[in-house]
């Protein structure tokens, strides 16, 4: 309980610093532009449905989460952090606080998008359960993206490891894209090997991609439950990996 209180105090402190520093104005500006272009009703005949709303908003909110998480990680890399790290909060609590702020800001962004669309261009058949069905996997997606950005930050991994993880993510993200088939014969030994590696490293990212699809489609079944569990597992794994890495490395803040 003590540890949770310490982490929550650090989260509130970082959130208040983020807000007072004015960095949040960039997010607010982007939100206004996004809402003006994509969420407003262009003419009286135009109709927006929930799938369209979630497809656009998920991309926007996840892109903003990448920005927010990057800014927070750079805030966490400043020399101000030494005093905080010297407290019993510790390394894990420090990282968890930064992560939580990224998720909170991402979630607020999404809620604001939802409020704006409800007020100015309410989608058809729009109710709380439809919103919740898309919101749950999307908030988990925000968490996964924030955890991934945290893992790939200079605060957590050394440049060699970052390059390796980025390479794996890039390889996995290509998934079924046919970029390889154009330059490499897939039936060759190298092609088969690459395909196997790609499948293997793609497995951990499957919940991220499936979670995005679940957000936009919101078609719940037993498989959807597996996707949600997969998202949670991926999120926990990324956090655990980040904390283990941060716990072992030399902390040099500037």
């Amino acid at each position: 309980m003590t540890r949770y209180r310490q982490i929550w105090a650090w989260t509130r402190f970082t959130l208040s610093e983020y807000l007072r520093s004015g960095r949040v104005l960039i997010e607010l500006g982007a939100l206004i532009v996004f809402a003006y272009i994509f969420l407003r009703k262009p003419n009286s005949a135009a109709i927006l449905d929930a799938t369209q709303f979630f497809s656009m908003t998920a991309v926007f909110v996840l892109a903003q989460s990448i920005y927010t998480s990057s800014v927070l990680m750079s805030m966490g890399s400043r020399a101000q952090g030494y005093v905080v790290l010297a407290r019993p909060l510790g390394r894990k609590g420090y990282l968890m606080g930064l992560f939580l702020v990224a998720v909170i800001i991402g979630a607020i962004n999404f809620v604001l998008c939802s409020l704006i669309v409800t007020l100015i261009n309410q989608p058809i058949r729009w109710n709380f359960s439809i919103w919740g069905a898309g919101a749950l996997p999307l908030i988990l997606e925000i968490g996964i993206v924030a955890a991934l950005v945290m893992l790939l930050s200079g605060l957590v991994l050394t440049s060699g490891w970052r390059l390796l993880v980025l390479g794996v993510v890039a390889l996995a993200s290509l998934g079924s894209a046919d970029i390889f088939s154009k330059v490499i014969a897939l039936d060759s030994t190298f092609g088969k090997l690459l395909s196997a590696v790609r499948t293997l490293v793609g497995i951990p990212l499957t919940p991220l991609l499936a979670g995005f699809e679940l957000t936009t489609q919101r078609l719940y079944s037993t498989q959807s439950l597996a996707i949600i569990l997969g998202q949670i597992t991926l999120l926990v794994a990324l956090l655990a990996f980040s904390m283990a890495a941060f716990d072992r490395r030399d902390i040099i803040l500037n």
Binding site: R5, F13, Y82, V83, L85, I251
Partner: protein, 323 residues
């Protein structure tokens, strides 16, 4: 009991060694000052003591614990103390307290007491971005004292302060010393070390090159030799070859930090060159002399500053009497 125990500590950055097998012991209740040129490894040592850095080899114990396990009992003031200046001093201390799970009226009272101790009670509710550098350093001391730590690790508290600020900081450190805190202080300020510390170590190229009790410092080093005749300037080359810190003004030759071996070699040189020594007097050495002597690389690591010993003086005087 040791507040800090370090044995064979090694640390490198990208294969560049910073600490090379450092051994150090700071007793509980002691105020220990660590001097050293820039890049000697002082801040690296503090970061290792705080558990921010992991050692390559060796053993570190802080209050008998691993560094990262001792945070609850350690107060830390970093060298480049940057702040989250969006909040007031009081608000900042409240947050810092909460990161250590201190809260409620107890924390409030402690913050008020610490703000009074560091002389910031009137500025407590002002935003820290309006604070002077001296005020920021004092709030830094206050945050380090928040948990009433057994050990304080302080890195260059007077760095960048004007003379008045340096005096204020020194007074504050003396006050902390009188309250019985064990303090490990890294500094470039000789006055600060001599006025505040019980013991001083000099870190050079990652090794403890000298260590002594501050009480031993006055009157430990140095001799001044007066020759009967004024020597030619050629003698200066010979003197510098013996020790670059040996100086000559007219017929007076001064060794700022004396050792029996150096004294013997100097007297031998003077006798070989045919000079007659008129007087040989001990001089009062200072921490600055010791520091410069050690840092320029002419001193072997020593356990304690040697007391002035002049074994050749009696022989010389006897020879003079015989002549």
């Amino acid at each position: 009991m040791s507040a800090i125990y370090i044995e064979g500590l090694r640390k490198s950055y990208d294969a560049v060694p910073v600490l090379r097998g450092l051994n150090l012991n700071v007793e509980a209740g002691q105020v220990y000052g660590l001097l050293g040129p820039n890049g000697a490894g002082k801040s690296t040592l503090l970061h290792l003591l705080m558990g921010f850095l992991r050692p390559d080899a060796g053993r570190i114990e802080v209050l008998g614990l691993a560094p990262s396990a001792a945070h609850r009992q350690v107060g830390y003031l970093p060298e480049r103390l940057r702040y989250h200046t969006h909040c007031s001093g009081r608000e900042y201390l409240r947050y810092i307290g909460r990161f250590g799970d201190e809260h409620g009226p107890g924390l409030r009272d402690r913050i008020t007491a610490l703000l009074t101790l560091v002389g910031l009670e009137e500025a407590a509710d002002r935003r820290m971005k309006t604070y002077s550098k001296g005020m920021l350093q004092r709030i830094g001391i206050a945050q380090a004292l928040l948990a009433d730590p057994d050990l304080l690790l302080i890195d260059e508290p007077s760095s960048g302060l004007d003379p008045a600020g340096q005096v204020e900081m020194q007074e504050l450190l003396v006050e902390l010393r009188s309250r019985g805190h064990t303090i490990f202080l890294c500094s470039h300020q000789m006055d600060e070390i001599t006025n505040v510390c019980d013991r001083v170590g000099i870190l050079v190229r990652g090794e403890l090159a000298a260590e002594t009790s501050v009480a031993n410092l006055p009157g430990t080093e140095g001799i001044m030799i007066t020759l009967v005749e004024i020597p030619a300037e050629d003698l200066d080359y010979g003197l510098r070859a013996l020790d670059p810190l040996i100086t000559r003004e007219g017929r007076r030759i001064t060794i700022p930090v004396n050792t029996p071996a150096l004294q013997a070699r100097l007297l031998q040189l003077l006798l070989d060159e045919g000079f007659t020594v008129a007087t040989l007097q001990p001089t009062l050495g200072t921490l600055r002399d010791l520091y410069l002597h050690v840092v320029t690389g002419n001193a072997a690591p020593v356990e304690a500053t040697p007391q002035v010993t002049m074994p050749l003086l009696d022989t010389l005087l006897a020879e003079e009497e015989n002549q």
